[in-house]
Symmetry: C2
């Protein structure tokens, strides 16, 4: 089982954006720089987060990305699904129907029990991801991380955030 590496980048970017002042944005290039990632690589994932309405993207000289809603209302599940898509990890190809002496479709009205069991486990995974809010991630970081790491992160936000002229719907 594997999550795409975009998930790590996406969660870290959302955590940075959760630290901006109200209404401020940060350009994609700055988000890429702060994590040592290529801007074009990151753009794909920022776009996915924007499409999923986890982020919003503002154009113009003060443009960039910001959270589309308060970090208390964004969960790890929102971010993972935005980047990875809604499909379950286990994708039943109905191999139970394969092989010799095939049966008509009417023999397979009930879902395959193996698929049911695998989807139940995925439900537990998603429930655990849905329990963690972006605000929890940021609070844990501020409480647990090394002070040098916190200071570095704060300095980066200070330097790269773009304040808007009028504070908008953020929060």
């Amino acid at each position: 089982m594997k999550l795409g590496d975009g998930v790590e980048a996406a969660i870290h970017c959302c955590a940075v954006l959760a630290s901006l002042e109200d209404g401020a944005t940060m350009p994609g290039a700055a988000l890429a720089e702060t994590h040592g990632l290529s801007p074009s690589y990151l753009l794909k994932h920022l776009n996915a987060l924007t499409t999923a309405k986890v982020l919003e993207s503002l154009s113009g000289p003060l443009g960039g990305y910001r959270l589309a809603r308060a970090p208390e209302r964004i969960t790890l599940l929102d971010i993972v699904l935005a980047v990875e898509g809604p499909e379950p990890a286990y994708r039943c190809a109905e191999i139970r129907r394969g092989g010799p002496n095939p049966l008509p479709a009417s023999a397979y009205v009930k879902p395959c029990g193996i698929n049911v069991a695998m989807l139940k486990a995925e439900k537990a995974y998603r429930a655990a991801l849905a329990e963690v809010r972006l605000s929890d991630i940021v609070a844990d970081f501020l409480e647990e991380a090394d002070p040098r790491s916190i200071a570095r992160s704060c300095a980066f936000v200070e330097r790269h955030q773009r304040m808007q002229k009028s504070v908008s719907k953020q929060g």
Copy 2:
């Protein structure tokens, strides 16, 4: 997030092998045929299951695969880990260390909180998989599946299982 399609094949094969008579084996080619899969494709996954000691492989004219222990003692987690390997789905690349003004390693003694949260969710997934025994899968199939599907499966096992001369440690 994606599981390899080998997982579906592996669980179905284990379920078939759970239906053999005590000590009997089934050749890989028959397991492939029953699911309409290519034998060379399936071999890779049967090998992984054998390496993980979920299956055992017997050579010789009566050879083939059989479960290495009773189906009550094999879980979906055993099978998934055998095929997919032990690595977690979320693989932290420590991108928190990337970017300008790098800090010394001593600033990152504690694990990244994002990694901790993602691994906690994976633990919930694995716990859910570990709760389902192969014997549950087989019992559910016999209880829930269409009678035609059960009959087809039983006929296939009957035709392809290889009885051993002396019943061995199975069970």
